[in-house]
């Protein structure tokens, strides 16, 4: 590439960097604009909230049912959490091996913004409640009214108040299955009751022909089928234009209501929002102070190339912060520390290059050759050194819980991007200067330390 080529590339990098900087800055300002859709994603320790870890007892479950039951469990928990109106809750299930090598289920729940955990824990821990309910008299009146002004279908509000319990619950259910209508191919949900349930269900259907029966799960209706005839076989079919996915989910929920996986709390963690805000503010301050001192050191010790390294470092920072927003990476206090740490690591490649460059300047007369050799000969130690750091970051990612994963991820992204900025970007900047002849003045500008 010619000097003009390098200058154009350097200018493009500059413009790109400024655009990224604007993106990072503008997307943090509260507004309804498109950019505001890319905020930093803060972890629980910064936003405040609750992290709950449960053991799910799957020892009695046959292996083939495990994933279905887990999915059902997750659905039930998600439904219960939704009652709280938590934004972006996390519900995860995973299977571990305990010390004896037996599988052990885990349920991880994260509730951002929730710090009053007492109620949440009680609600989550309760056995799912499946109930069959029939219409109240009031409901009949409302429906009569609705039928009068037919055509204007008003949605029924608070369905909970319009149904009354019958005494038939999940305890009476032996299993639920999914079947498909042989004619229409639509999915059906088949419920099987035990003896007592059979009697109760027969009575309920007999008394309510032409009305709806509602099946409530954890206090909210999941389906309200019409009763067409009295059912005495102890088996009920629910038809209702389900998608196969919904039907499968429903069967899972019903089975969970009948046979939940018992869960027990293993650990709780709550972080108040004030602590999180403080951590963000302090993390920002530490980052700025760290950046300033590293920049100062680089400029004082490495002079002209040091200054260019600081320019690349700034480019590196806006690039990484943009990546954090776009991927998005969940930032934790440790993750922010990882990012700040990566500022210190990012200039290391430059230090190796500049030291090498100085040596090359002693050996050769041509400026360009010295620069090329400096970069290419420093590459091996940069590669080896950074690869070991990435190795340990990958292991960290495996080792860690959420907080540590955040650190490992920010560090890895930092190391990879910094190699790019230190090697490619800094080289383009140095080349763009077009230093030309090797004069004493330039050698001293490219020098370092006390000499």
């Amino acid at each position: 590439m010619t000097i003009t080529g390098y200058r154009i590339t350097a200018a493009l990098i500059f413009i790109f960097g400024i655009l990224l900087g604007c993106f990072v800055f503008l997307s943090e300002r509260p507004s309804d604009s498109f950019l505001a859709r890319f905020p930093f994603k803060l972890g629980l320790d910064l936003s405040g909230g609750t992290h709950l870890l449960y053991k799910a007892d799957i020892s009695t479950l046959p292996e083939e049912d495990r994933s279905d039951s887990f999915n059902a469990l997750r659905d039930v928990i998600e439904r219960r959490i939704n009652i709280f109106g938590v934004s972006e809750p996390v519900v995860q299930t995973e299977v571990h091996s305990d010390e004896a090598g037996n599988p052990e289920g885990r349920l991880i729940i994260e509730l951002p913004g929730v710090t009053e955990i007492n109620e949440a824990i009680q609600l989550i821990g309760a056995t799912p409640v499946l109930e069959f309910k029939v219409e109240t008299e009031e409901f009949e009146k409302i429906r009569a009214k609705l039928e009068q002004n037919s055509g204007t279908s008003t949605p029924i509000e608070n369905p909970e108040t319009l149904y009354v319990s019958t005494g038939l619950t999940g305890e009476h259910l032996t299993s639920a299955q999914i079947q498909f209508n042989t004619v229409t191919g639509e999915p059906l949900v088949v419920l099987n009751f035990n003896d007592e349930g059979k009697k109760l269900f027969a009575k309920i259907t007999e008394d309510n022909i032409g009305k709806t029966v509602a099946i409530f799960l954890d206090g909210s209706p999941i389906t309200t089928p019409y009763v067409r005839e009295a059912i005495t076989t102890g088996q009920a079919q629910i038809e209702g234009q389900f998608t196969p996915e919904y039907a499968r989910e429903l069967v899972g929920s019903l089975n969970a209501g009948a046979l939940p996986i018992p869960i027990s709390l293993l650990s709780t963690q709550t972080i108040g929002a004030s602590l999180g805000d403080e951590a963000v503010a302090k993390g920002l301050k530490a980052g700025i102070v760290g950046l300033l001192f590293v920049s100062l050191f680089m400029v004082v010790w490495y002079r002209l190339p040091g200054f260019l390294a600081v320019v690349s470092l700034t480019f590196y920072m806006v690039l990484v912060l943009s990546l954090f927003k776009l991927i998005p990476v969940t930032l934790t206090a440790a993750g922010i520390a990882g990012f700040i740490l990566s500022i210190g690591i990012a200039v290391d490649a430059n230090i190796l290059i500049f030291e090498r460059l100085k040596e090359e300047l002693f050996e050769t007369k041509k400026m360009d050759e010295a620069i090329d050799n400096g970069f290419s000969r420093a590459w091996f130690s940069i590669r080896d050194a950074n690869l070991t750091s990435i190795l340990s970051a990958v292991i960290l990612f495996w080792f860690g819980t959420g907080v540590i994963k955040g650190f490992a991820l920010t560090l890895t992204i930092g190391i990879i991007v910094s190699m790019l900025s230190a090697i490619v970007v800094t080289k383009i900047f140095i080349k763009a200067l077009g230093l030309g002849e090797k004069t004493n003045r330039i050698v001293s500008l490219m020098g370092s330390g006390f000499r």
């Binding site: 870890l53 053991k55 305990d98 710090t115 955990i117 007492n118 824990i121 009680q122 709390l265 293993l266 650990s267 709780t268 963690q269 709550t270 972080i271 004030s274 602590l275 403080e278 302090k282 993390g283 530490a286 980052g287 102070v289 760290g290 950046l291 590293v294 050191f297 010790w301 440790a334 922010i336 520390a337 700040i340 740490l341 210190g344 690591i345 200039v347 290391d348 230090i351 190796l352 030291e355 130690s381 080896d384 050194a385 950074n386 070991t388 750091s389 190795l391 340990s392 970051a393 292991i395 960290l396 080792f399 860690g400 819980t401 907080v403 540590i404 650190f407 490992a408 560090l411 370092s448």
Partner: protein, 296 residues
């Protein structure tokens, strides 16, 4: 090269530091945090004024929590550590601390971890550290595979790792000391810091080894000792400076960063300082000694 000349002296310093660390760990034990041993931690802040710590202690004593540690934090806060407690007990503790709501409090954080998780994490931590160490030996042995005289590439890997053991033992020893006489805990973040030290501090050793490799190829230096000495002199500035920039940002995190990463940055600072020291003053001189022993 003066470093090689006085290497016995540096071995003694490092030997003493490592021995002292082991002694500290044996005498006082590793102060495990609650994420490793299970237990609970509660931090609250009194909205108005904090009652006398003795009063708080006597109130808490009425609950059956076993051994409870209560510390004052900030102007109005307290930090309470106890065994693992259930949510009901947690609520009881909050009511007791606020004297049934008469002295309003705000909860800053609460953690309760069962012993099962702790055990699992301890195992995982050990596996991670061992795995990183093995991977580093293998990686160095691989990238230095063309080097065979006077010592083979596996020896470079082993020596780099010996330096790493030195680098993680000393911070652990310091924390055993801190755990006994001040506040310091070996928690998940501590292990994270150790793993990061492993990855970072080997960098300095690699830079020197890389230069030794190059100088061996160019036949610089009459003896191996001379080659190592020249390589050390050529790379010492960059070894120090690369560690220095990282230590600068770590100090920024330590002094200005959030409370939760203070100890974390301290471990890293100690680890990187002893790491830079061991790469320069221990790892490379050891190469010379091993080469000499092999010659005999």
């Amino acid at each position: 090269m003066y470093i090689l000349h006085y290497r016995k002296f540096f071995y003694i310093i490092s030997g003493a530091l490592v021995a002292g660390s082991f002694l500290a760990i044996l005498m006082w034990g590793i102060p495990l945090g609650i994420d490793f041993k299970g237990g609970s931690l509660l931090e609250i802040e009194y909205v108005n004024t904090r009652p006398d710590i003795q009063i708080i202690k006597s109130r808490i004593a009425s609950l059956d929590l076993g051994n409870v540690l209560i510390q004052e934090t900030g102007e109005r806060g307290i930090l309470l550590r106890a065994k693992e407690i259930t949510e009901e007990v947690h609520q009881e503790v909050l009511v007791t601390l606020s004297d049934k709501g008469k002295e309003p409090i705000s909860e800053k954080r609460f953690t309760s971890i069962g012993p099962v998780i702790g055990k699992e994490l301890q195992e995982k931590a050990l596996i991670s550290i061992v795995l990183v160490v093995i991977l580093i030996i293998v990686y160095i042995a691989f990238t230095f595979r063309h080097v065979s005289k006077p010592i083979n590439s596996w020896t470079y890997g082993l020596i780099a790792v010996l330096a790493l053991v030195h680098d993680v033992t000393i911070p652990t020893g310091v924390f055993a000391f801190l755990g006994k006489f001040s506040t310091g805990e070996v928690d998940t973040l501590f292990v994270t810091a150790l793993l990061t030290i492993l990855g970072l501090s080997v960098n300095d050793s690699i830079v020197v080894f890389d230069r030794i490799r190059e100088n061996l190829r160019l036949r610089i230096g009459k003896t191996f000792e001379e080659t190592v000495g020249i390589s050390l002199r050529q790379t010492i500035t960059r070894s120090i400076n690369t560690s220095l920039t990282i230590i600068i940002v770590l100090f920024a995190i330590y002094f200005f960063g959030p409370e939760s990463t203070k100890h974390f940055s301290l471990v890293l600072i100690i680890g990187l300082i002893v790491g830079a020291y061991s790469s320069i003053f221990i790892a490379s001189p050891l190469l010379v000694d091993i080469a000499k022993r092999l010659k005999k």
